[in-house]
Symmetry: C2
Subunit: 193 residues, 2 copies
Amino acid sequence: MKYYTFKEYLINNLAIENIHVDEISDNLKFIDVPKGEYLLKEGDFCSDIFFVDKGLLRQYSIDEKGKEHILTFAPETWFVTDRESSFFAQPTPYYIQAVEETTVTVIDDHLLNMLSEHFPSFTKFNTQLLHSHIRQLQARINLLLSASAEDRYLNFIKIYPDIFQRVPQAMVASYLGITPESLSRVRRDLAMK
Amino acid sequence: MKYYTFKEYLINNLAIENIHVDEISDNLKFIDVPKGEYLLKEGDFCSDIFFVDKGLLRQYSIDEKGKEHILTFAPETWFVTDRESSFFAQPTPYYIQAVEETTVTVIDDHLLNMLSEHFPSFTKFNTQLLHSHIRQLQARINLLLSASAEDRYLNFIKIYPDIFQRVPQAMVASYLGITPESLSRVRRDLAMK
């Protein structure tokens, strides 16, 4: 699997010159998260954005009956955070957990302000990220309201081409909002088509 | 019903002085939308943000089987747009329709750029709107994944205290992702509690 650093990401996506990237690199923090460990737990205040350099995270909530509901999977080059908590300074309702051994770059307030002040392209990029996020969430709502289990699954493997092989089937079912049995049936039916 | 203009909204939320508000007002456009008429249809390009001065809009999609799925209701002081279409210049999958006779203020690209350039507080405010939007969408996904029909309904009347009286029950059911029969049952059960 490609080990894609935040530094490469900045060079490729923000047209920031190498000399400035080095300056940014000095301010980067990394965290190695063993499989099963948490970057965030319900009730915490989330002030960081995590960029996944390597591995796979999941963001989920637990309902009153103790059932998990997966809001997002974040493989390599994805950003994950709770913008609700970071922006509105409220305790998060989410957990962020490593599904595999994971390395993240931590984008904290300090780095965010530094990037915003010195690199106008970063502010634009951040706005674009927010819009992408809205697009993705709207599409997800639309699928949850309208799509069959099969369509939800087909959409899932389009967004996450290699994740099905990397996570337990029950987690995929939780993301799709269907039972593991329905997911098995959908896959069986598709295999026979 | 209070007739709340975008001008008042700017004064109250953005700490923009009266003299500048007048300058902005000269650039405002308004549209009166008769009940049942559209501000946006599937396949259109959406480049405007609409602020609801008076009335009620709904944003929805239609699936392959012709079934409507309501993404949002927008009563007075709500903003509605398809940020996916406006930001990524893609045709929208949504309709925006007036549920009541509605008046909107149109925030077009020209006004958006003018506000962003001259009023730093507007850029900050716009970023806050994006975060609010993300918060609302995430909460909606969480409800769709995890909540019972009753909890979805209780959440709905918290977000939209007076809308139940203003729209057909079938539209509320469509927003909640449940059948009108389930919605009737939920209301009956709650009334008996």
